[in-house]
């Protein structure tokens, strides 16, 4: 049982038009998504640009409004309450934090790091100034930074350092869940490795959960336990990492995985052939996996905790199980 439940979440934006500027239609950024977050686990949310993956994270943290559906925290309905000042939701605000692609753009450039990081502490704990200082130093140390960094301003740091400060700040309120939206997309490979390492260390130390949002399938594979693949505002496939990567069922997942460049130059030709085969399969079978409006079907159990969005009552599920059995 998870501590955070997202149920049938929808985020729709109206499209206005016509003479009277009335609502003509909706952009369905997120269109019916279910998610359960258990403590200590990392959930990868993968999709291409415009798939709605960022919107899910922002809605949980309260930067976007849910149009429908519920978000339950410890069984309490907290939908659209994330930024509420009400004491009742204080735990929720404290326990769910977010890291962005550029963390410092969300920090006041005129404030020193210690002031930036002290803010969540003052909000949620009764620390004395000395305690705050000690705690900030401790947090900076966890992300491999010198305590002196606390007296500097955000712009004085490199991209990798900023992201580590972002991680440290997110941890400052002692949260249970950190939503990480493309936290390393702007970083170089060697710097990315450092940030990812720290994120994993912190997870182990504090037992917190991550909702790791990224377009980079390699990074998500590295970080996650469970993965959900998103397309057109809905999940096309959801399950344990190994299942998704080794036994993908939805045509879109297959297409996405086949497009990842392989680090082995010798398999180049076969990769290309496989990729083009999947691409052709995608074009041919699109109708099987999307309804006539192009909407992704509801997730149906494929096996154990592996879910695939397929046409209800379609033979596909059974077929795939059969072919699996033959192999």
């Amino acid at each position: 049982m998870g501590f955070l439940e997202v149920q049938e979440l929808k985020v729709h934006y109206p499209i206005r038009g016509g003479i009277l500027n009335t609502v003509q239609d909706y952009v369905r950024a997120v269109d019916g998504v279910n998610l359960t977050i258990e403590s200590g686990k990392t959930y990868g949310l993968v999709g291409e640009s415009g798939s709605g993956k960022t919107t899910i994270g922002k809605t949980i943290i309260g930067l976007e409004k849910a149009s429908a559906g519920r978000i339950l925290y410890e069984g309490e309905n907290v939908t659209n309450k994330a930024r509420s000042r009400n004491k009742k939701y204080e735990n929720y605000n404290k326990d769910v934090q977010m890291i962005f692609q550029d963390s410092t753009s969300s920090m006041n450039p005129k404030k020193r790091i210690i002031d930036v990081m002290a803010e969540p502490m003052r909000n949620y704990f009764d620390y004395t100034p000395a305690e705050i200082k000690r705690r900030v130093a401790e947090l900076l140390d966890i992300v491999g930074m010198n305590a002196e960094a606390m007296y500097k301003y955000p712009h004085e740091f490199s991209g990798g350092q900023r992201q580590r400060i972002g991680v440290a700040r997110a941890v400052a309120s002692d949260p249970k869940l950190i939503i990480a939206d493309e936290p390393t997309s702007a970083l170089d490979l060697s710097v990315q490795a450092q940030v990812l390492n720290f994120m994993r260390r912190i997870q182990k130390e504090y037992g917190l959960s991550y909702l790791f949002i990224s377009h980079d399938l390699g990074v998500v594979q590295h970080m996650s336990d469970d993965i959900a693949i998103m397309h057109r505002g809905r999940f096309v496939e959801k399950g344990p990492k190994k299942e998704i990567y080794n036994n993908p069922q939805h045509i879109y997942t297959k297409r996405l995985l086949s497009a990842i460049p392989d680090m082995d130059p010798t398999t180049r030709e076969s990769n290309k052939i496989e990729r083009q085969r999947v691409e052709a399969e995608y074009d041919a079978q699109e109708a099987e996996y999307y309804d006539q409006n192009g909407r992704v079907y509801d997730l149906l159990p494929y096996k154990d905790d592996h879910f695939v969005a397929t046409k209800p009552n379609s033979s596909l599920q059974n077929e795939s199980i059969n072919t699996k059995g033959e192999v």
């Binding site: 490795a193 390492n197 390699g218 590295h222 497009a259 990842i260 130059p265 180049r268 990729r275």
Partner: protein
């Protein structure tokens, strides 16, 4: 095998940017060759000078604040010596360029047709009808559906992948023997990236041009390149055929980089992290091994006073001798 003439030959290229009264070299003594029908990848992290190398070849730097020296030899011409007027005959005609951000690299106020046609008018005396035919031909070649309609569209009306195809069409317009692609797929989704890379390879098969592919993405390199040059702090530290580089990398930087790629880990294992940070341009050491501060556990004797790029096996070049003594931290040599 007959020795084929190099399409492009770069010798000891240095590009310095002015900071106050001093010039600091973002590209510091790069020598490279490009052959017909070859994809040469230049890999490195941000600030290593790979993009500066591209703009130096195109001669696009602001002469007031930049100092370029060395040789860029193309058809017996040293491009560095050319004046603006002569360079304009080379740009677009002999060397085509593809940039990273397909939205930014197209003029938002011009139709697709005019932007492609513009590449043609300065290098040929085609009439309006011929230009139109050529534009259509190019749009077909880069796989754009309904070219007659797309021609009249503005950049913002196309998707990212379609825009990048237009940018490629512009680069190809005059069938240049050399194409420079600077991070051509970085701004694109992975499925689109695969399509664009396939397209570039197909086009190369057709035209036999030489491509310089500049990227930070080792996956892209593995999928496309024939030969790879790894850059660190303005210098090439290793150069090898692609399979050799991935199978048997030598230079400490190359090995560290390959080791920090995210992958499945064993319990308790962590991704490799390179010590310290890339020094800023102004703080680059003027001599000695530039990678030395990043591998402090390697003893001083391992480093050369003046590390040179030397051929350690046919077609495999490595800078300095530190690679002979290199091992990862906490690992026995």
């Amino acid at each position: 095998m007959a020795v084929e003439r190099n399409l492009l030959e770069i010798n000891n290229l240095k590009t310095g940017f002015r900071f106050g009264e001093e010039y600091h070299n973002a590209v510091d003594g790069v020598s490279l060759t490009l052959k017909k029908n070859e994809i040469l990848a230049i890999v490195g992290e941000s600030g290593c000078g790979k993009s500066t190398l591209a703009t130096s070849i195109m001669g696009l730097h602001d002469p007031k604040n930049t100092q370029v020296s060395g040789e860029i030899i193309y058809k017996d011409l040293n491009l560095i010596d050319l004046n603006e007027k002569l360079y304009n005959r080379i740009r677009g005609n002999d060397i085509g360029m593809i940039f990273q951000d397909p939205l930014g690299s197209l003029n938002p106020l011009m139709t697709i047709y005019r932007q492609i046609a513009e590449a043609l008018v300065y290098h040929s005396d085609m009439n309006e009808k011929q230009i139109k035919e050529r534009v259509l031909e190019l749009l077909n070649q880069v796989g754009i559906p309904r070219p007659e309609q797309i021609m009249k569209a503005y950049p913002h009306e196309l998707s990212g992948g379609m825009r990048q195809r237009v940018v490629i069409a512009i680069a190809l317009a005059n069938k240049p023997p050399i194409i420079i692609a600077d991070e051509p797929t970085t701004a694109l989704d992975v499925t689109i990236q695969a399509q664009i890379l396939d397209l570039m390879i197909d086009i190369q098969d057709e035209t036999g041009s030489g491509i310089i592919l500049i990227t930070h993405d080792l996956g892209v390199v593995a999928e496309t390149a024939d030969r790879v040059a790894v850059m660190y702090a303005g210098q090439i530290v290793e150069e090898a055929p692609v399979d050799v580089l991935f199978r048997d990398p030598k230079h400490p930087y190359t090995r560290s980089l390959l080791n920090s790629i995210p992958h499945e880990l064993e319990e308790g294992e962590e991704l490799h992290v390179i010590h310290g940070t890339v020094p800023s341009l102004q703080k680059l050491p003027r001599k000695g091994d530039r990678f030395r501060p990043r591998i402090p556990w390697i003893p001083d004797e391992a480093f050369d006073e003046n590390p040179e790029l030397t051929e350690i096996a046919p077609n495999h070049k490595v800078r300095g001798n530190s690679w002979k003594h290199f091992h990862f931290e906490g690992e026995e040599k």
